[in-house]
Amino acid sequence: MNPHIDWRNTFPKIVACILAAPALIVPLLTDNPATLSTMILSGIWAVVAMGFTLILWTGQFSLGQAAFMAIGGYTSGILSARLGWPFWPSFLTAGLVSGAVACAVGAVVLRVGGFYFSIITLALGEIVRIIAMQWQSVTRGTRGLVAYPPEAISLGFIKIDFEATPVPYYYFMIVLVAVTGLIYWRIGKSRLGGTFFSVAINPMLAEHQGIHLMKFRVMAFTVAGVFTGLAGSFYAHFLQAVTPYMLGIPESIQVMIMSIVGGVSSLVAGPIIGSVVLYNLSQFLQRAGSDLQTSGFVLEGIQPLVFGGAVVCILLFLPRGSGLIDLWTRFWKRVYKEVDFYELPEDLEEETNTH
């Protein structure tokens, strides 16, 4: 065994990659547009949930992430449908605009922080919706905008056509989740992650160590805003419509629940697991519900019930805030007790272990 690899940490990651690899070939395994659509939407929600978790890592509860999706969706919808921009510039601008709004709002609202911040983010969803409804000249109000699929991409002899099947959307989602995940993961692992954490768990102490609280709170809120805006733009172009009612408070809460169920201690894997599990579960139950409906059973409002129930279960059984990811971590702790890995202790750990 190579003594320079920290097997204790690396092996679980290798296993995780192997388990996640099938995601890359899902379109080869199924033709069902409903399945692909569910996976695509899970991915979009995962990106948004990662943003929620990042904001939570600075100690703030944002109940308005759906608003930033809406801002992203409308920005790219307006740019592409009303101003004739091609998809890719609209998509990227949507992210920037959403980030800019997050920065501006955050600079003001994060000063009060805490409870008031959460209430205001909740209101943000409503404010965006009202603006979308009233600013008819730009957003076409309740009629909404049509968000055209991205233009076909020609790479040599391969033409990626977004209009024919959801498959290109699927791979676009994979890329979006991978890039966003990589960036969030890097933030978490770097000095920034530690700083965010200290701002969350003891702002007074962090402040006295020279950490400018507002700077880091706004930073997290803005980064989350950018990627949530991108997710929102993708959402709109996938559903090929953007209306005032499609993203509001229920969606913001859904995002929060996905993050909590997946595990808030994880910035990337947690939100992904939370959103994949919950979204698939709710879609499955919805379909089962409509099947049952034909035989007289009505399963209205199953989705909130599932989501609420999931949170309660997670909080009861995996209370250390680590959600489903905790099962993974605990599994590996158990494994290490049984299996003998060649551990290369840091010299430091040996040196300091004089107890």
């Binding site: 890097r186 530690g194 700083t195 007074m204 160590q209 020279g210 930073m219 300091t352």
Partner: protein, 258 residues
């Protein structure tokens, strides 16, 4: 001109005058003891200097520049660090994590370089880790580097509080009751370290109730009572001051002949 000049600081909380026209000068290299009965405004004074409270009136001059009104993080960046009376910790973090997270001021590289993990950042990070470990070694916390901070004994938790404050590279270190809850040996260990810090050029302000500690290490002492300064001078002079004794013990004749 003194390193730190506290001029006419008044701090009111509504009708309560927590500090009333306090004037203190601190020279570079001093170890200033701040003593007084409970409720006399000692911690409030530290809070005002550190920027946690805004003074109602007055100014605080560091190297001649007024720092009153700045945020705590700005004041710490200018070289004034502090510990807390109730020993605040980062829940759930180990000793080394608590230190690294508190060492932001030791870095010159900004957030972007840290995010990308550039070579300048990584070199600086190694140096910072080295310095942090030195601080831990100094305060006898090296053996606990990977231990969760909340699992340390009380005395070591207080030492960690001091270590965290040192991680911010302060020129002036304000300690709020550093030896409270310690036995004689632990208290003398703290005194040892305060001497070492002074030898390294750090100026120390120290709120203390333990007179042995004060007489052992303080160069001068300031006594507060009900928010005002009632005495000032070298420790042995101040200890024998009539007003000071009265403030702590009450008037000698009260109740005796009545």
């Amino acid at each position: 001109m003194a390193l730190l000049e506290i001029r006419g600081i008044t701090k009111n909380f509504g009708m309560l005058k927590a500090l009333d026209d306090v004037n203190v000068n601190v020279e570079q290299g001093d170890v200033l003891g701040i003593v007084g009965p409970n409720g006399s405004g000692k911690t409030t004074l530290i809070n005002v200097i550190s920027g946690f409270y805004q003074p109602t009136k007055g100014g605080i001059f560091l190297d001649g520049k007024n720092i009153a009104g700045l945020r705590p993080d700005q004041i710490t960046a200018r070289g004034i660090g502090r510990t807390f009376q109730s020993n605040v910790m980062y829940e759930g973090l180990t000793v080394i994590q608590s230190m690294l997270v508190s060492s932001l001021l030791q870095y010159k590289t900004g957030s972007w370089k840290a995010f990308f993990g550039t070579r300048t950042y990584r070199e600086e990070h190694e140096r910072v880790v080295g310095r942090v470990l030195e601080i831990l070694r100094l305060l006898d916390l090296f053996n606990d580097t990977f231990i969760a901070a909340d699992k340390l004994s009380y005395g070591y938790q207080r030492m960690l509080g001091i270590a965290i404050a040192l991680a911010a590279n302060p020129k002036i270190l304000m300690l709020d009751e550093p030896t409270t809850g310690m036995n004689y040996e632990e208290a003398m260990f703290v005194v040892e370290n305060i001497r070492k810090l002074r030898d390294q050029g750090i100026t120390v302000l120290m709120i203390e109730h333990n007179m042995k500690v004060v007489t052992n290490v303080a160069t001068n002492v300031v006594v507060l009572n009900f928010g005002t300064k009632i005495a000032e001078g070298p420790p042995h002079v101040v200890m024998n001051n009539k007003d000071v004794i009265e403030a702590y013990l009450g008037t000698e004749n009260f109740g005796a002949n009545n």
